[in-house]
Amino acid sequence: MYRYDEFDHAFVGERVSQFREQVERRLAGKLTEDEFRPLRLRNGLYLQLHAYMLRIAIPYGVLNSRQLRRLAMVGRRFDRGYGHFTTRTNLQYHWIKLVDVPEILSALAEVEMHCIQTSGNSVRNVTSDPFAGAANDELEDPRPWCEVIRQWSTVHPEFSWLPRKFKFAITGAAEDRAAVLFHDIGLKIVRGPDGENGFQVFVGGGMGRTPYVGLEIRPFLEKRHLLSYIESILRVYNLHGRRDNINKARIKILVNQMGIDKFREAVEADWEQSRKDAVDLPAAEFARIKSYFTPPDLVAGPIRDEKVEQRRITDPVFANWLRNNVRPHRVPGHCIAVIALKEPGRTPGDATSEEMELVADLAERYSLDELRVNYTQNLVLPHVARADLVALYDELAAAGLATGNNDLLGDMICCPGLDYCNLANARSIPIAKEIAKRFADPVRQELIGPLRLNMSGCINACGHHHAGNIGILGVDKKGTELYQISLGGSPKDDAAVATIIGPGFRAEAVPEAIDTIISTYLAKRSEGEDFLATWRRIGAAPFKEALYGAA
């Protein structure tokens, strides 16, 4: 993974000192709250319902065990012993004291972490394929490019005051595991006409109040021109994006108002006349960054391991975990293990300090000290030898971290909602817990098959409800929490925005409504069809009828 050089250390260190001074000035009365708010937000510090919330960047979801242990320490010493992994693959602490923040930032800087640009109208944490560098369907590791964008966008003077926040996602794999088409700019590494890899560039995807699937702006961009091209996109947005209405300020609104063809023309015109030589990364600098992501020296081994086979036969719970949470690795004899933060009863995405420490130990012992955070709020060990799977599973299971529901109904995405968040209109965590309880049976979950259930506590859609096969949105209707259900969304290559199915449900009726939807799907599905395929074939009517009765 990328390691800070002297410049990086000095830069982050300076930011910590600056913020220490800013907090001191706030506490001494030299800054009012109005003056202080933009400064704290620049450092990922929000004031929420019960306390301050600090959002720590985990660049493209990559962590080592030293960093995860440090996060565990922060949780134990400065919070209530747990943290929340987010859909931006960041980590949030929800019970932070303002007076402690400078010390926390110092502790994070020591392990090459910070909170810069985890808030505000800037380029946010770049997200990527959680299996990057390990997946067997990968054309090229996207992480060096993520790091290039991270360095380029950090306190970029031209793009520090964008009309609104800006999110990138990059994948280099055949399967989109990063919801690339729901980003302001989505990049897919593809093979070009002459056999070279380059980027397929999408723009204007997003969720929130007005969801859009990203549109292709360029089918193929030479890799060496990445920075100049995305700079032109951002420049057109910075110039023409609306600043008068926060709800219409994201690039997706501009792209859809101009139309993709006109927007493309504007970008290409800017790009044509731009100083590409001054902006594009020199090959030597890219080679330097890329060298941090050299593939580990794994020795290919047998794809069949006797211990795993034995256990698979004798232990159905292990077999369930193996089927759903273990994914193929590009090196035979190895695999990728998803650690679900989703067992019934847990707040989706929450991990205690003890759990973080355990996972850090396991990463050190079984995964070459590497860890990933998935946007679906799980952790990933990317390089596990097949021969170690049983031992790994036993340690995870003993800690309640071996729930085998990855990409099944229980693997819900869920924002913090009204239990923590100042923006929320309704709670999401208790609803997620209740649904998890109802569908706790792993046999039933597997019978239902792949299903993405996403839930947000407000229209801002941090819980990606628009991209859920089943999406739940909490709204406030005259002081009562009400939940709108939508169906048919997809975060994958066949990206789609889910359709609202009908009037909302009261909180206590939501699990039953989900059950009705699932029963309808099971009754109507054809052999081998997953939920999304059935929805696409039969449409909304059968679900509406089951939920609301015949029209």
Partner: protein, 97 residues
Amino acid sequence: MPNVITANRLIDGVVVYLAADGSWVEELARAAVANTEEESKALESEAAKAVAERRVVSEYPMAVGFEDTIPVALSVRERIRASHRTTLTEDWYDVPL
């Protein structure tokens, strides 16, 4: 409608309510209740002073109801704030509705 003043404590963000003696307390039950516009204004000016003194931030008046004579929050949001709790426990509806 009867109301109280709520805010977050500056140094740690904890939810607090303005009490009759001018202190900021974590229990809604101990909050000073304003029943008239005049009483509301008095509480608001007291709160503005506390903001200037950097004791609290994000202050605002909040409507309350009563259980016996004890003020209680009306909206779900304010019930959650007043409870100082979240859903870490396993019960459905940790904060009763």
